[in-house]
Amino acid sequence: MLKFDAGKNPELKVLSLILVGSFILMAILSPRNFLKIGTFQGMAFQLPELGLLSLAMMISMLTGGINLSIIATTNISAIFAAMILTSSINPELASSGDGIVIVIAILVALLVSVLVGLINGILISVVNIPPILATLGTMKLLQGLAFIITRGYVISGMPEAIRLIGNGMILGIPVPLFIFVFFAWLMAFYLNHTATGFNIFLFGSNPVATFFSGVNNKKVIIQTYMMSGFYCGLAALVMMSRFNSAKAGYGESYLLVTILAAVLGGVKSEGGFGNVSGLVLALVILQIVANGLNLIGVSSFLTVAIWGLIMIAVMVIHFMTGKKRVQA
């Protein structure tokens, strides 16, 4: 669904108009700085971690749930991976065993995050805790665990190969962007071309009907949150590599921004609606606004306020167009 078919989908049309509008606005406001390759490379470095986290948030929202534990999951995965890396690899001296350690660290990060997803899924579907509370609980639990493990200190000094994930460039295009594009495509494929993906949308629209059409609702929810966890694990790797460190409490301000990006991209918080292309458009809009305003020297808090205004504007537009459709 990364294909662009704005004609069919009015929400994508609105989003692409906003995208073009914000692009032109920024180009006018700051013609010298904005239209430079460096600016776009900068954006391409920043977008992937927020993008992966937003995908993690999006898939939980498609089922009508929410995943507040994404940042905490990301941090705990990064901390585990960083501990493995820093304890067995000396970044100054390359040795032949490094490759295996790096692979193990990456696998551990992904495994931890998927495991957290599994716990979330069980708490929500088997124990029957509302998603917002279950993930709030695991968020606190993991934040606490991260502090207990690290005592609040930063774990830093990653080997060169790991730093490549977040900081490397191929043909002038940042490596994290490749990672993001591939996994965004994978998410779109998973949602649109697999049975589980179909069931996720179905569950989001009507859980009871989904149950009576013979779907194992518990399995759908558990898979959703495991997938959500997996994307947190990916974000953990990118973030750990970009910051060259791991710490409890990194990126906490991203949590609400991911919800904002998902909703801006057309994901309905009641579940059942949303697609990856909308989310990607929304992410690019947020990034352009943030970078553009940063270039003309506006405080990052004003950017946050403007994001809020854009979000309300989009919701109001959705409401108005929805009303028109009902009347017609």
Partner: protein, 337 residues
Amino acid sequence: MKKLLKYHETYLLIIIVLLSIVITTKNANFFTAENMFDLLKSNSFVGIMAIGVLLVLISGGIDISFAAIATVSEYIMAVTIIRIGGSVLSAIAIAVLIGTLLGFLNGYLIYKFRIPPIIATIATMNIYYGSLMVITGGKWIYSLPDWFRSFAEIRLLTFLNSNGNPYGLSVITVIWFLVIIVAVVILRFTILGRSIYALGGNRNSAVRVGFNVFLTETFVYSFLGFMAGLAGVVQALLVQAVAPNSIVGKELDVIAAVVLGGASLSGGKGSVPGAILGVALLAILKNGMTMMAVPAVWYEFFVGAVILVSIGFSSYQDKKKSNNTAIIDVKEQESLC
């Protein structure tokens, strides 16, 4: 006795009593009047916001922006009393007015444009807090007037501890108690209270029965705004300084406390005693950890565990109960709402 066991609040009370016994055996200073009065004072800030959050949750909504509202009201209040002067009453009036206005805006957006409350309030949180930080540059305020400082030290009951230091019932705690009484009266004895429960229970039914949904919905968010404004003043009284970044980020903790008290996020359920017990549980947990010399890094972990165990327990019971009942839901009709 059997009837008592039906209430969520009873279990919560039992947990609090058990926790208190454990803490007291480790450190006898916990169960003293001085510590209790101190807890009541220092938690009145969270307690006041919790009452506001309770009403929103009962109505089936949620609000993420109240911490931002509290910060904005607190800041404007502080700037006004420093520049223009005034009294405690005018300080409260300013903060409460701003809080109510911002809360009303939330309610209006949610009702008028049918924006899901969590989305609308995340957006307004960013707008309120972002604008405040842009305008003020995030500067802290220390130089609050002397009368503001002396008001915070008023006690309605005063005792002396063994060292001869006074302690007792602070005026700040009394503000919290007044808020509790107001909330109980609204929820128990007014039509408005009934309509809040009705709206949270089933929106369509509430419309059909003839409750004014616009009034109810804007009321709960305005009420939370009011409480956030009041809590902002209380925070300033407690800390005697205004730090724009000290409250924001605590919103989920307050919601967690209220939910621990039995309020349901799907609406229609919740009580004032429950919300107070929820706040008390988290407060005693934190205080008890300090008393038992448990490292502070464990606090978040325990909070998470308490939330999961307590809510998991009640959710699992609800699930067993609902397996024996059928739910017949009417289809939502646009024209009605």
